[in-house]
């Protein structure tokens, strides 16, 4: 038996184990049978090991270039560098599905192993829901997209991988994105388990929050990596295109961000329970849509490298069950989770509710913009595209209001509104907003209203966070700075970092949007182009041979226009990948904190000249720096929780105890 067949066998075992995992613990929890409930963690662990073996077998087949495996023959090539042989494993539908399953299994295993104090019945139900999801996807993989299918005659060499995917950014982007998408399945499982048992309480939220945070961090980084990849690889100079596939990753992120905040209200105040449950279902449903929208061939996108409508039927079936059933459960059991609303709008929970409303509206805007063309086409037959103008006019203002609230929420107290800090914070933020607005108007001619708002918001948010930090860390007669730092809850620190990440992100987005320069020219060797205070000379254009491609390379020399000082030499390329007969543009980028020089080589020859696109993009790398800070903030908040998490109920084990506790809290 070959390793490939062994991998196939392991995948079948994982499927059987997942079926057990989805049924037995659920039955055990209903019967309050400890033995049956404990089968959940055991099955989850074994299924994770089995899928790890399956994935390992597939990666090995790619590394060895075993072209008797159909997937390897279709998507790999012996001349490819090792790292792209490995990343080629998930550069196709079957392999990426297997990676998706593996990550799901690992999450299940980590849940099974961790959460020692977690109520057994809660864990059993969560693992059962996880098992149902993995059974569905394992069935999808085994019955429609078997990665281990063999070929009767193995070809001499593979067909290769889409050259645009041969890139280090893309080797790590899908795993990171999947880590986020799949991580949301845990929150989803919490929600469904809560709906089944009816026990959605503060304890439930306490256990759920780190998982939301972990998934959110991964999703944030995954989206940022995707955007960064599009920026340097596609050669269009942009970083976000409102493309259906990008939107598909943004929607679960928005829903997860809302859930991240609403779960705090559940944990601290025991409110917003049914809302948080709904968000958890929504976030994971959207991530399912996000993962599979690309493969069903329903929407066109620059990112749809592999699509097959025949698989869409299975995907739609999975979606119907995975989303429809929990929503039905929600319609039936959700009303039980309602609490009597007794909150003041001017309180922290009030601000968090506003945050949630805005984020859900933003999600709806993106959803509408993404699916409206499809709906219209189905009804009227007209084909339209919805582009940046729609999103600029709708999405941006909503996020702007959200940024305003971001300053107010943290300085308000639970239940009652005003704290002594609130007035000074608002004052500081308002003054900073006014100053940055005036500076902006003075610096930029004819500033658009949206740009002015963005500039003022940056000042507002930065000063608001600063004022909050000062208020909380300021040395006082009783406490020194060090003492205050010691007492500072880690999740507050995490929040500051994440919110400050938004400031940095906005700086990058606004800097690029307001001050970028662009030159599209046809140049011959020796020509000089001027852009953003630089003199760019096209020195020469030559052909060169890469490992598996032929390239046309331009050599550009950047000099300071005023002083003539040498700045850099950029070499943008056009590559033709011989095995795939595909052309890609390799933009040359010189990234600096102040701004990026970005050059793209187009068509042409020495006689008529070459088309060149040159950009100067101020502050653009701050976009990704800001998103990295957001993820870092999430990580800080998440890891800090263990240190200070010592609620008196960590030794709770039995269902009865938890039920009693829940009643006590309700």
């Amino acid at each position: 038996m070959g390793l490939t067949e062994f991998g196939h066998f392991a995948l079948i075992s994982a499927f059987v184990l997942s079926l057990i995992q989805s049924a037995v613990p659920l039955y055990g929890a209903a019967r309050q049978d400890m033995q049956l409930m404990l089968i959940g963690p055991a099955a989850a662990l074994s299924a994770a090991i089995a899928s790890l073996i399956a994935f390992g077998a597939l990666v090995t087949a790619f590394i060895r270039s075993d072209f008797s495996v159909a997937l390897v023959a279709n998507h790999s090539h012996s001349a490819k560098p090792l790292i792209y042989k490995i990343s080629g494993t998930w550069g196709n539908h079957e392999g990426s599905l297997l990676l998706w399953i593996l990550i799901l299994m690992i999450y299940g295993a980590v849940l099974a192993l961790s959460g020692r104090g977690m109520p057994t019945h809660l864990k059993a139900r969560i693992l059962a829901v996880q098992g149902m999801i993995s059974s569905g996807f394992l069935a999808f993989s085994l019955f429609t997209s078997n990665p281990f299918a063999r070929l009767a005659d193995a070809p001499m060499d593979g067909k290769g991988l889409n050259p645009i995917l041969q890139d280090p950014g893309l080797a790590i982007h899908p795993p990171m994105l999947y880590l986020g998408y799949v991580g949301l399945s845990i929150a989803f499982a919490f929600a469904v388990a809560g709906l089944i048992s009816g026990d959605v309480d503060r304890l439930w939220a306490k256990w759920m929050r780190p998982w939301i945070m972990a998934a959110w961090c991964a999703l944030t980084l995954g989206i940022a990596l995707g955007s960064w990849w599009a920026y340097y690889e596609l050669g269009w100079g942009g970083w976000w295109f409102w493309d259906p596939v990008e939107n598909a990753s943004l929607m679960p992120w928005l829903a997860a961000t809302a859930m991240l905040h609403s779960a705090i209200v559940v944990e601290k105040r025991g409110q917003l329970k049914s809302w948080t449950v709904l968000l958890a279902i929504l976030a994971f449903s959207l991530s399912l849509v996000g993962t599979f929208i690309v493969r069903s061939g329903l929407l066109t996108s620059v990112h749809s490298f592999a699509s097959d409508p025949a698989r869409g039927v299975f995907i739609l079936g999975i979606l119907l069950v995975a989303v429809g059933v929990p929503l039905l459960l929600y319609a039936w059991r959700g009303p039980r989770l309602m609490t009597i609303a007794d909150f003041n709008l001017k309180s922290r929970e009030g601000a968090l509710i506003a945050n949630n409303m805005l984020l859900v509206v933003a999600t709806a805007i993106v959803l509408l913009g993404t699916f409206y063309p499809l709906g219209l086409e189905m009804i009227t037959g007209a084909r339209i595209t919805v582009g940046p103008p729609y999103f600029d006019a709708t999405f941006n203002p909503v996020m702007g209001v959200l940024t305003v609230i971001m300053v107010l929420g943290p300085v308000m107290a639970w239940r009652r509104g005003a704290t002594p800090r609130i007035k000074t914070t608002i004052l500081a933020a308002a003054v900073a907003a006014a100053i940055s607005g005036i500076v902006g108007i003075a610096l930029v001619n004819d500033m658009a209203i949206g740009a002015l708002a963005a500039v003022m918001l940056i000042g507002w948010l930065a000063a608001g966070i600063g004022a909050d930090i000062w208020a909380q860390l300021r040395p006082s007669p009783q406490f020194s700075l060090a003492a205050r730092w010691q007492r500072l809850p880690r999740d507050v620190l995490g929040m500051w970092i994440a919110h400050f990440g938004i400031v940095v992100f906005l700086l990058g987005a606004t800097g690029d949007g307001l001050f970028r320069s662009e030159q599209v020219v046809r140049a011959k060797p020796g020509d000089v182009i001027e852009i953003a205070g630089r003199e760019v000379t096209l020195l020469r254009v030559f052909e060169r041979q890469g490992p598996n491609f032929q390239a046309l390379t331009a050599e550009l020399e950047y000099r300071d226009a005023a002083s003539g000082r040498f700045i850099a030499r950029l070499m943008p390329e056009k590559r033709v990948y011989t095995a795939e007969r595909q052309t890609t543009t390799e933009a040359a980028i010189r990234p600096r904190p102040g701004g990026d020089d970005y050059a793209v080589l187009g068509d042409g020859d020495d006689r008529i000249g070459y088309s060149l696109r040159l950009y100067y993009k101020p502050l653009i790398s701050w976009i990704w720096g800001g998103t990295a800070l957001m993820a870092l903030g999430g990580l800080v908040a998440m890891t800090g929780r263990q240190r200070q998490s010592a609620p008196n109920n960590s030794d709770v084990k039995t269902t009865a105890d938890v039920k009693a506790m829940a009643r006590g809290r309700a």
């Binding site: 329903l298 409508p309 869409g312 429809g324 929503l327 039905l328 499809l374 189905m378």
Partner: protein, 181 residues
């Protein structure tokens, strides 16, 4: 505390609505009525643009599509610098036995085009030189290779962006040609 609340059904109903639209779209994609990656051309059914182009062999003479009126034509935009054009050369060679093919060398040099044709074969009845890409703009060319099918009345019936693969020829082009006859 359990109550029936109509508002809790809203998410389910909204989801089912979306699922129905998705299902319909999938159905029409599967049945072949809809191809999301097919680029619609506004010129379908309209007269082919007549941009005067110098011929490859003779700078003085001009390529006029009007001279070919009365017979179906295949107009192929290609270039020597385009790798997929080499790939589709054998397919064009075969097609030239069934239909007159006009080549338009897009943003190319005469010497390069001539060399390209010597190397990969010349299936074209006439070749126009679109050196500055003006004809490409008039035709709405996305990139080379790109192929247009013109009917006997000089109207564009079909367009394909990208190389003519066996699949495209058998499932789209040949049926279109049969339909015109």
């Amino acid at each position: 505390m359990s109550r029936f609340r109509p508002s809790f059904f809203i998410p389910l109903i909204a989801f089912l609505g979306l699922a129905i639209i998705g299902g319909m779209a999938l159905q029409s994609t599967l049945s072949g009525n809809r191809n999301p990656s097919q680029l619609p051309s506004v010129l379908i059914g309209k007269a082919a643009p007549d941009v005067a182009l110098p011929l490859l062999q003779d700078r003085q003479a001009e390529l006029a599509l009007g001279n070919f009126q009365g017979q179906p034509l295949l107009v192929n935009f290609f270039a020597s610098w385009c790798a997929p054009c080499r790939a589709e050369a054998p397919a064009l060679e075969q097609l030239s036995e069934q239909i007159t093919i006009i080549g338009i060398a897009y943003k190319d040099r005469r010497s390069d085009t001539t060399e390209f044709l010597q190397q990969y074969g010349n299936p074209f009845t006439a070749i126009g030189m679109d050196i500055d890409g003006r004809a490409g703009i008039a035709w709405g060319v996305y990139g080379v290779p790109e192929t247009y099918l013109i009917d006997t009345a000089g109207r564009i019936q079909w367009r394909h962006a990208g190389p003519l693969t066996r699949d495209v020829i058998t499932t789209q082009l040949l049926p279109q040609m049969a339909e015109m006859q």
